[in-house]
Amino acid sequence: MGATKLSGMQKQVLSLYRGFLRAARSKPTTEDRKRIETIVSTEFRKNSKEVDRKNFQYIEYLLRLGHKQLDQLKSPDMVSISSVKIN
């Protein structure tokens, strides 16, 4: 378990991640639920490795973007999310 205290920004990121997983649980089919969970978890893990811990501006930008996407996902009309990889 993490022995060091989490910073405020880390707590915000974790609560956003939790929010996404909770929104995923409210979707009708298990297939949609799994798809949302995999997309969200890969996105968060990729960013946690690539983004510098001290780059506050970019992390805050990603948090705001994430909150807007979460508000969209929470609505009952939204069924699932998908992502496309462009090289």
């Binding site: 510098d52 780059n55 970019y58 930008y61 807007k68």
Partner: protein, 306 residues
């Protein structure tokens, strides 16, 4: 003058029919009568446009430096910076928005900014130009080529990219004021809520707000409490609905806006809002009037008590 024009129009063989250019006048247009802010603006624009022409009326190449705030979220490790662009203002329209269009078209297509009407009515292109918050489509270029013009996004707002900012908080605060007509009874003749011309005159100076967010982002009180304080624009609209004679929820609106120290009473009469409004409106006076309405009862009520 008129006869000269007639001769030119009647002669089909005339090669060049030059109608008098609107840019050669002295800025005293009859259509702008009664609008002092617009008259001053047109005079300033003509003056700055004149300085970039020489005696024959030919445009000489005048390069002016523009320093524009850049930040790209797709390049997260670069910090925001001011990028310099040198633009020939003699081949460009008179307003700052024209310069931005020219830069985006010719030099750097990745420059991002909001724009729509190009005539100062939509409020999309609001940004901070040379330290003042205005709409770019109504701000003439300062033709002094020795100093660069600095263009940055509206201050103390989260930046999405370059000059584009996040205005969702601003729009939610406008929504919280409930900017629609609220009545208890249907209209008297069954069709429209009628209003006398005198009552309509009370809304002059309030309804013209284009929600550009210039005033709100110039208010230090808003900088320090953006979540709580609605900002001058929202409060101006609240006053617009309070002073609308057709609205029947006047007391409730006034009570909602003055009930605690977080809404109207966060205003410290700094008056940055009035100084920066590109439409010449006065949010500070509207807020002062709301505070006055709250502290003093209406004269009619006083008579009824006696």
């Amino acid at each position: 003058m008129l006869r000269l024009l007639q001769r030119r129009i009647c002669n089909p063989a005339a090669e060049k029919v030059r109608f008098s250019s609107s840019l050669s006048g002295n800025g005293d247009y009859p259509i702008l009568k009664g609008h002092k802010a617009a008259q001053d603006l047109s005079k300033d624009t003509l003056k700055s446009h004149e300085t970039i022409k020489d005696k024959e009326g030919q445009h000489k190449v005048t390069k002016k430096e523009f320093k524009i705030y850049r930040w790209n979220p797709d390049k997260p490790n670069t910090k925001p910076f001011l990028q310099s662009f040198f633009v020939d203002v003699s081949t460009c329209g008179p307003m700052v928005l024209d310069v931005l269009q020219k830069i985006k078209a010719e030099e750097d297509p990745s420059l991002s900014y909001r724009r729509s009407c190009r005539e100062g009515i939509c409020g999309s292109c609001s940004m901070n130009i040379d330290g003042t918050n205005t709409v770019a489509c109504l701000k003439p270029i300062n033709s002094d080529t020795s100093k660069p013009t600095i263009i940055t996004p509206l201050p103390h707002m989260y930046v999405i990219k370059d000059l584009v900012i996040d205005l969702t908080n601003f729009y939610q605060q406008y929504k919280s004021v409930e900017p629609w007509l609220k009545t208890r009874k249907p209209p008297k003749d069954g069709r429209e809520h009628l209003q006398s011309p005198n009552d309509r005159k009370k809304l002059d100076g309030l309804y013209e707000c284009i929600l550009c967010a210039c005033c709100t982002t110039s208010c230090p009180s808003y900088w320090w409490n953006p979540e709580e304080f609605p900002g001058p624009a929202a409060l101006l609209q609240a006053y617009r609905w309070i002073s609308d004679s057709r609205d029947e929820f006047r007391e409730e609106r006034l009570q909602a806006i003055t009930e605690d120290e977080r809404k109207v009473y966060r205003c410290r009469a700094i008056k940055n809002c009035t100084a920066t409004c590109p439409k010449g409106l006065n949010p500070a006076s509207a807020i002062l009037k709301m505070k006055a309405k709250h502290s003093l009862p209406d004269p009619v009520k006083r008579i009824e008590r006696a």
